[in-house]
């Protein structure tokens, strides 16, 4: 099928996207640098929150692309490019991780030798938790992702011109390899970046917990972006409510999945009642954190669950747009809740600060600019994909 057969007409995304992204980025950068100058300890934690949020969306989007290939799904083919564009920020992780590399001293207690030697348990862990190995892991993981991203995306784009079915086959193989690699690497990310903030805490389900949020938020990002594009008429005209309904059901599924995993983690620790595990939850049940913990249960599980339960909310694009924005905000709250309570040690008491909210500007700005940049050259619909026709014909 030649590109023209699909009925897709490429339109340039408005320059506005670039401008808004640029303004957000510049404002965020200025405030962020100010934040680091005012209180670098706090700013490094705040930066980490936004970094993980950004990482969730870019890697999660790559995961969704791989999932589509691995499951041989055709309904999501018309949306695949949106996920690919969202994943395009992935190579930037290499640069965006650098500010954190300079602040491992603030973030991680285990990076201080005297702290390590205060405890036998930490000494035993120091074979894994030490700064050089940490840095190696961080960059190795990003490079592995980058490797798969490059190959999968290259094949996908080449198909726009050649319509070669073999490329789909090659991408299926790549995706099937990528998914277990992703499972391991996202677990390592969860352990390295978030769990090790409390050097002595451990929870074996923690990687799955982060993954649930990653898949959830990248689905929400995909839904939000594709609804916006659909409203402005950039997507393929044949995309119907039924496609969005399927996105809605997936978001619903991951809402329940997150609830299941989050509760599994909590219940085992609660039941075991061992001080070396429970302190992590106790931190999040003290003072103002108690309110945020309860808020998280309500906003992360109860509200989206009942909101997405009905058929109407999944087919009405306005309602779906609302909940996808909601999900993105709540995922940010989730990461905030995971990371920030660990800040209040070494006499740094926790209190809300403006620094916590400047870095999201940077990362949202980066996402928008990258999206616009990539969309300039590449079609928003994979016109050469053999599954596209079936995907467009999809109905419930």
């Amino acid at each position: 099928m030649s590109p023209n057969d699909s009925g897709y007409i490429k339109k340039d995304l408005p320059d506005n996207l670039f401008n808004v992204g640029g303004i957000l980025l510049v404002v965020g950068l200025i405030l962020g640098v100010a934040g680091f100058l005012v209180d670098s300890y706090r700013a490094s934690f705040a930066y980490l929150v936004s970094f993980i949020f950004f990482l969730s969306i870019v890697v999660g989007s790559l995961f969704l692309v791989a999932l589509e290939y691995a499951a041989n799904a055709d309904w999501s083919t018309p949306f695949r490019r949106v996920s690919e564009f969202l994943a395009a920020g992935l190579p930037l992780l290499l640069i965006l991780a650098i500010p954190l590399m300079f602040n491992t001293g603030s973030l991680f207690q285990w990076s201080h030798a005297d702290y390590i030697h205060s405890d036998k348990m930490l000494e035993a862990k120091s074979a894994y938790l030490n700064t050089p190995f940490f840095m190696v892991r961080v960059f190795a993981i990003i490079l592995i992702w980058f490797f798969f991203y490059t190959l999968i995306i290259k094949n996908s784009r080449k198909q726009d011109e050649t319509s070669n079915q073999l490329l789909t086959k090659r991408n299926i193989t790549l995706s099937v390899i990528f998914i277990p690699v992703f499972a391991i690497t996202i677990t390592l990310v969860a352990v390295d970046w978030i769990m090790s903030l409390e050097s002595k805490w451990f929870s074996t389900i923690f990687g799955v917990y982060l993954f649930a949020g990653v898949a959830w938020s990248s689905l929400a990002a995909l839904t939000l972006a594709s609804i916006k594009l659909k409203e402005k008429g950039f997507l393929h005209p044949a995309i119907k409510e039924d496609h969005y309904y399927s996105l809605g059901t997936l978001m619903f599924a991951f809402t329940a999945f997150w609830g299941y995993i989050a509760f599994s983690q909590y219940m085992l620790i609660w039941y075991g009642n061992l001080p070396e595990e429970t302190f992590w939850f106790m931190q999040r049940w003290e003072g103002g954190w108690k309110i945020i913990s309860i808020l998280l249960i309500v906003t992360h599980f109860i509200v989206p669950f009942f909101y997405l339960l009905s058929y109407q909310s999944k087919t009405d694009l306005k309602k779906l747009k609302f909940i996808s924005i909601w999900i993105l905000c709540v995922h940010f709250l989730d990461i905030y809740w995971l990371i920030m309570p660990s800040m209040s040690k070494n006499d740094h008491a926790y209190s809300l600060s403006w620094i916590d909210f400047v870095f999201p500007f940077v990362f949202v700005g980066v996402l928008l600019i990258v999206f616009k940049k990539v969309a300039e050259k590449i079609n928003l619909v994979p016109v050469g994909d053999p599954k596209l026709k079936r995907g467009l014909d999809f109905h419930l």
Binding site: F263, M267, Y271, H395, L396
Partner: protein, 387 residues
């Protein structure tokens, strides 16, 4: 068959596209009572048939939520209200422990109610037959064909017009389906059913009487039934109906001499120590002290304990006040309790209590040594070095 009432006109199609198109056209033509049968779910059929959203979801939601509420209240009743059991040291009403069961029951109720609701309400359950059963049409749509029927009950129904209409839609076969004669089964006639019921009652009664009255022999090896009362068992022998009895008043068990000053905060006189501080006694005292006394008084009886700050702090036992107590007074406090300290009469037996007193004396002496004690220790340690 020609005498029977016409049920519907049926049409068979070759492909899913044709059946979708046919369903759409039939809806557009204004037919209300028509149905489509396909060998597998055809996507887009609901919309083509002009069907609205299924209401089954509300049944699922209602029963799912009732399942959650029911099982949560049930667990609250059994665990926290009717018969309290401590599980894992948690509160009786501990919601996190109840959530997995609540979740499972929600799913169970939702799934079963959806299934039963669908069969009972939407398939009109007691009807176990349908005019389309056992027809060539049904055989075809259970294989590889796609069928559409327009029922005779429809307001616009006209046999010839409907037949033409379906043929024009591209059906490869159009046929009439008649309502079959109502079949009657002799098996279900009332006389036979009554006979079955009587037979069942008579057989059961005969079996019961034979096995339990006529042929009943008490098996001699039936050891689980014995003429004795088990713990907690009821008994008619005693006026209060309880099988478990208290000992006769004034009974003294062996080794359980009653303590004469029990309940007196300041007894006028105390017992004297019947034990000698032998190594064996002191080891027993140490073990019991560490188990029962150290949580509050500390391992060295200095009042610095694990529970410090969480519980009324136990006083030091090495003060001069307690140094000057007679042995019997310390024994009295262990036995009787003092202030917030409860009586340990029932946890620690008499011999062990005296052993604790001896061990407390050792701790006191270790922390307030006399000049001669120090010299003794020095001598001992230097002699150790010499060896």
């Amino acid at each position: 068959m020609a005498d029977n009432k016409l049920y519907c006109v049926s049409a068979l199609f070759d492909t899913p596209d044709k059946i979708i198109n046919a369903a759409r056209k039939t809806t557009e033509a204004g037919y209300k009572k028509f149905d489509v049968n396909t060998p597998y779910p055809v996507h887009g059929m609901d919309r083509a048939m002009g069907m609205g959203q299924s209401k089954i979801g509300y049944v699922t939601l209602f029963f799912g939520l009732s399942g959650a509420v029911f099982i949560f209240l049930f667990m609250w009743w059994t665990f926290a209200s009717s018969y309290n059991i401590v599980v894992g040291g948690k509160p009786f009403l501990s919601a996190p422990a109840f959530i997995p069961i609540t979740f499972e029951t929600t799913v169970l109720f939702a799934a079963i109610s959806t299934f039963v609701g669908m069969i009972a309400v939407f398939f009109k359950l007691p009807h176990n037959s349908h005019p389309l059963h056992d027809t060539d049409y049904m055989k075809a749509v259970s294989g590889d064909k796609f069928g559409l029927v327009i029922e005779a009950d429809d307001e616009q129904f006209n046999r010839d017009r409907v037949t033409d209409f379906l043929k024009n839609l591209g059906a490869y076969k159009v046929a009439d389906v008649y309502i079959p004669e109502k079949e009657t089964y002799k098996l279900f006639s009332s006389g036979f059913v009554i006979f079955l019921i009587i037979l069942a009652v008579v057989t059961s009664a005969a079996t019961y009487i034979t096995l339990n009255k006529l042929m009943y022999v008490v098996p001699f090896s039936w050891m689980e039934v014995q003429d004795k009362l088990n713990a907690q068992e009821e008994s008619d022998i005693f006026a209060d109906g309880k099988g478990m009895r208290l000992p006769v008043e004034g009974t003294v068990a062996r080794g359980e001499l009653p303590y004469p000053f029990y309940g007196q905060p300041n007894p006028p006189e105390v017992l004297s120590n019947p034990t000698l501080p032998t190594k064996k006694v002191l080891e027993l005292g140490k073990r019991k002290f560490l188990t029962f006394c150290s949580p509050c008084h500390g391992n060295f009886a200095q009042g610095e304990s694990r529970l410090h700050g969480q519980f009324p702090t136990g006083p030091t036992l090495v003060s001069s006040k307690i140094n000057n107590y007679p042995d019997g007074m310390i024994y009295h406090i262990i036995t009787n309790g003092q202030n917030v300290m409860p009586s340990y009469m029932h946890q620690i037996n008499r011999e062990e209590r005296w052993a604790i007193v001896d061990y407390v004396r050792v701790l006191q002496r270790a922390q307030n040594p006399s000049q001669s004690d120090i010299q003794e220790v020095k001598k001992e340690s230097s002699s150790n070095v010499a060896k």
